[in-house]
């Protein structure tokens, strides 16, 4: 049936198409024959006319007048049909009989040349010269006129131009529109004259002289240079004021010039000085500077101890800065050049080594009281500090930076170091000084004096320690007083020492000492140059005592740790002390004073430290547990509060209340299983919230089933549907709290559930609606400001569309406003120039 219907439909369609085509043909047929007919008609007419003419020719052969008549008639007849003339022109068949009325191209050349037409114009006198010239230029001009554009193209261009014109016109409004869009409030009608009384000033400024009397007065005023708008100062006064400011400027300029010149002189001078290559010169200079500084410092110590302290702090700071800079890492230009030389040059190698040591020294942390804490921590970690082998501590001390393996000895008695250290603060090695001076001249020119001095000291200390193996002291003196000073701490330590003696270490230390003694006996060298330096530096001692103190403190503490090494000394009841020069002996008294101050601090006995550490450990443990243990939370110790007044009346429970027995009992014994109940409850809640795993495996599906057969692991895994785990509960870390995870749907009705247009994420939106705007929370002014309506219209006022004049006005205002704003700044310099 359906097919049939389709077929019939198709047939119908065909028919209609056929019909249509028929109709088409019919219509065309109807038009075509008419055309043909028309043509035929024309031709017939034509033929008729020709026939007529031939007949007339035959009739009137007799006279020429007849001929003329006939011509006229022909013309008249031809004039009747408009088309005929064209037809005549188009006739192109070759004809012997040439009509004199038409020009035929076949006759002469191919084209009619202009010269053909106007060739004899030159000869004719009647044509004026002007036209002749014009014709000539026309002849020379060979350009052909371009073909005119097609209609579509020209229209397109016109449209384009028109569009641009309109677009520019419209974009003029863009600024205003944007401004209005951005404006917090728009009041329509725009640009309304503010009602109510106007400010006096606006009236005054807007007012213009109109009546002749007013004009006269104004002219008088202006002639006398009296102020018109600004009634405070006359222009003359203003001018004088400005003149004064000019004078001032001049003075100031002169000052500035002078300062600049001085600066440039100074710069030039320093540049010159820097270029001087003489090392001796620099040495002398530095020395002088140092002396100067010392003098200053000493006076400062006397006069202004606070300032001196500050200076000291500065020194410290300078050292810190030096530390922070990576100057000594042998990565600079100088270091690179030295590295190249190092292969061949002993001196260069040494210099580099020194530099490295400086670096190490600087990067070493200063042993301060802070170290105490670290040691405590260490002990915490290690548990038993006494068990730690001594060399670990020794390495930690690491005051001597150069490789101990290279030096050939592992240990160094702490007292020894102590001494050497203290000596370092007071002693000076001039030989070394020379060495160090070289480098420093290279890289420390910009450094401050203090910085340089400090670094020198450090250098010397390092070098002294490095070279200890080679150049050894002259005399070893048993210094009892020194020992006494250290005795306090030693006595404390003795107890511990006895507990754990490491015999091997003792022996090694002894051996070491012997070696050193031998070496000491070997060489005696007293450098005379040192003396001066020493004297100079003895002044420093007092200053550096503070620093030395801290150093000593730390060292004594370390001595506690390396008790075994100390052991020897204490047993001998004497301190080893090396003094190189006689001056050093003189300086000993100074050291004593230093040493005397030391034993106070280091007395923090390790036992107390241990106590501390244990308490700390306990504290940590408790912290860790706190989050978990509910019982601990509840049984947390609480403060007992004493009340001054004693109770007189016993607090009665509401016994007369209707309470059944069970309830009473339950209330009384509630505390027994409160916690376990609560925990159970919490677990239950957690379980409810947990997502369940759904197992969809069908045993025996796709594999063997039956008793003892389990579906394979792979399959189980495949068919187990795991839901996404829920986000962690809010009370995850609160053992004694159950927070309900149910969603509060009642509030969601009032919440925003889709982000409004310009916002990208919800934090942005939330932040914008976070602060309230109501009267309850804000001041009146704020509320008014915040809740201002965006558009205000006046009742009854006609709001007309913006006129173009307003646009122009606005522009003008902007321009005038700008100019007025800029004017006062611009005019001033102009006047200055005039005066000059």
């Amino acid at each position: 049936m359906i097919d049939m219907a389709k077929v019939s439909k198709k047939n119908m369609k065909k028919e209609t198409i056929v019909k249509k085509s028929r109709g088409m043909t019919e219509s065309s047929a109807a038009t075509e024959p008419r055309v043909v007919y028309d043509d035929g008609d024309d031709e017939e007419e034509h033929l008729n006319e020709e026939n007529l003419s031939s007949e007339e020719e035959q009739e009137g052969e007799d006279g020429a007048s007849d001929e003329r008549k006939r011509q006229k008639l022909l013309e008249a007849i031809s004039a009747l049909g408009g088309k005929r003339k064209n037809k005549l022109g188009e006739r192109s068949e070759a004809a012997v009989h040439m009509s004199e009325f038409t020009v035929n191209a076949d006759g002469g050349g191919d084209k009619v040349d202009l010269s053909d037409l106007i060739g004899n114009i030159d000869k004719t006198q009647a044509v004026p010269n002007k036209t002749k010239n014009q014709l000539k230029t026309l002849q020379q001009n060979e350009k052909t006129i371009e073909t005119p554009l097609s209609k579509q193209e020209s229209e397109r261009i016109q449209r384009n131009v028109a569009f641009h014109k309109v677009a520019t016109e419209v974009t003029q409004w863009k600024g205003i529109i944007q401004q209005n869009q951005k404006a917090e409030q728009l009041i329509f009608p725009l640009n309304q004259e503010p009602s109510g009384p106007r400010a006096m000033e606006t009236v005054v400024t807007c007012w213009k002289a109109q009546t002749p009397l007013e004009q006269e007065i104004f002219s008088l005023l202006s002639a006398n240079k009296q102020p018109i708008h600004n009634p405070i100062l006359t222009p003359v006064e203003e001018a004088t004021l400005k003149a004064m400011s000019f004078e001032e400027a001049k003075v100031r300029r002169a000052e500035l010039q002078k300062a600049r010149a001085l600066q440039s002189y100074y710069e030039a001078k320093s540049r010159r000085e820097r270029k001087i290559k003489s090392k001796k010169y620099h040495k002398v200079l530095n020395k002088a500077k140092r002396k100067d500084f010392l003098k200053q410092f000493e006076t400062m110590v006397k006069t202004d101890p606070a300032a001196a302290l500050e200076e000291l702090n500065k020194m410290e700071l300078a050292r810190m800065k030096e530390r922070m800079s990576l100057k000594h890492q042998n990565s600079g230009k100088w270091a690179k050049s030295k590295a190249i030389m190092a292969k061949y040059d002993e001196g260069a190698r040494k210099a580099m080594q020194q530099q490295l040591e400086v670096n190490k020294d600087l990067t070493q942390k200063l042993v301060t009281s802070l170290n105490n804490d670290q040691e405590e921590e260490e002990e915490e970690e290690g548990g038993n500090p006494e068990v730690i082998p001594e060399f670990v501590n020794d390495a930690e001390q690491g005051v001597d930076s150069s490789n101990p393996w290279m030096r050939g000895k592992l240990f160094e008695s702490p007292t020894e170091r102590e001494v050497s250290d203290t000596v370092d603060f007071t002693e000076e090695g001039p030989g070394i000084m020379v060495n160090t001076a070289e480098e420093e001249e290279d890289d420390d020119e910009e450094g401050t004096e203090e910085e340089r001095l400090l670094r020198e000291f450090d250098h010397r200390r390092r070098l002294r320690q490095a070279e200890e193996a080679d150049i050894v002291a002259v005399i070893t003196v048993e210094h009892e007083e020194e020992n006494k000073a250290a005795g306090a701490c030693v006595s404390v330590l003795e107890e511990e020492e006895e507990e754990n003696k490491a015999a091997a270490a003792c022996v090694s230390v002894l051996e070491e000492d012997e070696e050193e003694n031998k070496a000491a006996a070997a060489c005696v060298s007293v450098l005379e140059e040192e003396e001066e330096e020493e004297e100079e530096l003895s002044k420093f001692k007092s200053v550096f005592q503070g620093i030395a103190n801290t150093h000593l403190d730390a060292e004594v503490e370390k001595a506690e740790e390396t008790a075994d090494t100390n052991h020897v000394d204490t047993h001998l009841e004497e301190g080893l002390m090396r003094i190189r020069t006689l001056e050093d002996v003189a300086l000993l008294s100074q050291m004593e004073s230093v040493a005397d101050q030391t034993p106070v601090q280091p007395l923090t006995s390790p036992t107390t430290e241990n106590m501390l550490s244990t308490t700390k450990m306990v504290g940590k443990n408790s912290k860790r547990k706190r989050g978990i243990e509910l019982k601990q939370v509840l049984t947390k110790e609480s403060k007992v509060i004493q009340v001054p007044l004693a109770l007189t009346v016993e607090d009665k429970e509401d016994s007369d209340e209707m309470l059944d027995q069970r309830g009473l009992i339950k209330e009384a014994f509630a505390g027994d299983n409160v916690i376990s109940d609560f925990l159970k409850d919490k677990r239950k809640q957690e379980d409810v919230g947990k997502p369940k795993v759904v197992d969809l495996t069908l045993p025996g599906w796709g594999e063997w089933g039956g008793m003892g057969h389990k579906p394979s692991r792979n399959k189980r895994r495949k068919f187990r549907i795991r839901t996404v785990p829920r986000p962690p509960r809010k009370d995850q870390h609160l053992p004694s709290v159950i927070i309900s995870e149910k969603r509060n749907s009642s509030i969601s009705l009032h919440q925003v559930n889709s982000l409004p247009s310009p916002f990208v994420n919800h934090t942005q939106f939330e932040s914008t609606i976070r602060s309230p705007i109501g009267r309850m929370w804000n001041t009146e002014q704020t509320v008014n400001k915040i809740t201002n309506p965006k558009v205000v219209t006046q009742m009854g006022a006609i709001i007309e569309p913006m006129a173009k004049e307003e646009l122009m006005k606005n522009k003008k205002q902007v321009s005038t406003g700008n100019s007025s704003g800029v004017e006062p700044i611009k005019t001033k310099p102009m006047k200055h120039t005039k005066k000059k």
């Binding site: 001032e248 009340v643 009346v649 309900s740 942005q764 001041t779």
Partner: protein, 589 residues
Amino acid sequence: MASPGKANVKSPHVGKKKKPPARYWDKLQQEEGNNDENKDGKDGGKAQHAPRRTQKRKLEETRRDRNKFISGKSDPFPGPAPIPEERLQKFKRKDKIKKPRKGQRTLRATIAHSEQTCEMAKKQAARFDLLLPEDAGFLEGDKDEDTCTISQDDIADAVDITSGAKYFNLKLSQFGPYRLDYNKTGRHLLLGGRRGHVACIDWQSKQLMCEINVMESISDVKWLHSEEMYAVAQKKWLYIYDSKGIELHCIRKFNDVLRMQFLPYHFLLATASSTSFLQYLDVSVGKEVAAYCTKTGRLDVMCQNPHNAVIHLGHSNGTVTLWSPNQKEALVKMLCHQGGVRSVTVDKTGTYMVTSGMDKKLKVYDIRAFKPLKSYFLPAGASCLSLSHRGLLSAATGDIVQVYRDVWSCPVTKPYMAHRVRGTAWGLQFCPFEDVLGVGHGDGFTSMLVPGAGEPNFDGLDANPYRSVKQKREWEVKALLEKIQPELITLDPSELGKVDYATFEQRHQDRVKALGFDPLAKEKFVPKHKKKGRSSAGNIEKRKKQVAHEDQRDIIKQSVEDKLRKKDTGKEAASSLSGQKSALDRFKK
């Protein structure tokens, strides 16, 4: 308020000796020059809150001006008066958020605008904080004198007469221990004796408004929104009376009520019954909003959190549960005591909760984080607790009423004040806006003086103790209009200002279903078809793989980099900090 616009007056004409007087036309000129956008007339606030850039420019101008003075004199107080930082902090609403990227102009504008208004509101509020002139004081003893030993009589003698008159006793020994309630303004006192005595008093003038005996046992009394009406929980039902003692309602739906709380902004009366039912009654329309069975036995401990209108209930198993009328189960359940909970109270800001239990402990909790802060042991155990506006805690232990200061900030060893009343204390409440603590006890009522208890600055539009009848009427209408619906009670009130994420996602899913595609999804990468056999299946897959999870990869890369950097810096810091060397360090260069 001095308008800041005046401060930066531009004066082209400078006097020699004196700074020329600031003229308003100068300001006008300047405004014209600046082409001020502010169109409306109030320039005082406007100028201040103009965009920051213009402010900066103005500042610079003022600086230039200052330099211009030849006399060397300059404005000693340039610019607007500074606001102390802490006061600004007090009114801070939110932190600034990160500005969006450059492209989104409208977004940037809206955010900037909101930020600006917020800032302005904060500043204004901080400025006007100056107008709260009243200050709270505290009792200070002499040397070696505990403030808790100072008796009420001494205090009453020392203070002025009006304040001294606020210490008084009402001897009502007939009708048994009394419960009490002050109304919101603190002017009116409602007393309910256990044996049926109800009395309303304008306690400051000591004027009795009404006195009735309901001839039934009374468990609690409560003022409703105004001093016109109050609710009395009687033996069986809940009754509502007016201030003349006329019974207005008997609500049979609310039976066996033991405790009541009134939520003033929601017009809700919450009741807890001995049948363990928590019920909410909307007082404005007289409808029961919600009724939940808590299944925790007799409910005789109840308080409200004034910050979020959540009801706290204490139970005999040592737990405190938090309830809102919108959820059938407790919002939060906290285990606070090993014995039963005897009393609970929450401070005005909703930050702290203080509980006392049968285990004779007094505990302070941070109720926002549900964490315990302090725990005290009271040898006698506190039966009633009450917190004042300024954070004083009163605890009744038997017949002694103790008042503590700063229980949460620093550990307390002694009470701030103590007073012995004539019977066992039954009800305690601090009077709002007064330094007065009302104690209902077995032998009547005691009004105690507690210096520093009340908030000295009241909000005249919210709770005005000195309001006239007309003002009261006005307030009542406004309050009813601004009534907060019970659905809005949540644990975190700021939740209302958050985007509802769950429904957002749900909606999105629906939309995806309707559209057939995810409009917010990222476009899938379709590799370009290449010719000459370079678009083979393998090649296409390869190309797909190259871009797969690109964003995720970026994130991972970033995180790994961050981690590495952190590790490095940590190591460096550790090494530089410790300065210690291991034994093997000597081999390092």
